[in-house]
Symmetry: C2
Subunit: 126 residues, 2 copies
Amino acid sequence: MEEDKLVCAENCPHINKINKVKEREPKADEYAKLSNMFKLFSDETRLKIICSLLKEELCVCDLCELLNLNQSQVSHQLQLLRNSKLVKFRREGKQIFYSLNDEHVELIIQMALDHILEEEEKNELL
Amino acid sequence: MEEDKLVCAENCPHINKINKVKEREPKADEYAKLSNMFKLFSDETRLKIICSLLKEELCVCDLCELLNLNQSQVSHQLQLLRNSKLVKFRREGKQIFYSLNDEHVELIIQMALDHILEEEEKNELL
DNA sequence: CAATCATATGAACAAATATTCATATGATAT
DNA sequence: ATATCATATGAATATTTGTTCATATGATTG
């Protein structure tokens, strides 16, 4: 998987820069958790589910209807979101209502939207 | 890909909620851009590259050395980051120096780190 | 201008992820 | 207790994504 030989040993690697980065980079397990978190946002279906739950507590078939997805698809994705504690849920009779479990999610998405909007503005200046 | 029949048509879908969500959800192309953006953060190798560039402008073999990856791997991942304009680069002789192209990136990662830390705190309370 | 260095790229393969279909579960109503 | 409804889950398949290996490119140096 990983190589251990240097690519351009003599002149290239800028050791002081590298050390500077190493000093304050996230820890190994933080990288893992971060990428897992972003993985949840990286599938469009899941992202739509997340964004929907941002505004309202919804049951599974609300999500099916809203996003025009079949029930299995929604349930599978919700399972992933549940496993990583991104959503919480409560049963009410036969239905199960899902909602978001964290306030950071909205901020993260908002930040990413800001980024996208800025990109679009840049492109319009061409 | 997608189903068009309702799952539980009579009683279940909460139409007013659904409409409320629909009113202010991101547009189709925004969803696509958002998920593509998060996809870039979702691979651990790429995330490490991004986090490294957060602090310092680095050349390809700095990244190889720092992250213990082979050159091809790094270049391929950098290509993805370039294509979506997340990084910029400049040539200096034989070397090519990469750096981040956007300030939102740091905020997004910081936000996600905050989320993770909060999760950890919650778990310690058990 | 040939050799070398740093990086990029294409194609083949491997691994991870999403979707589907069939079926299971657990709650309610009859 | 049986039927039905809303949701969950397992396994098979399809799709996407990452890694590797071989090779190409473009700049520099002798």
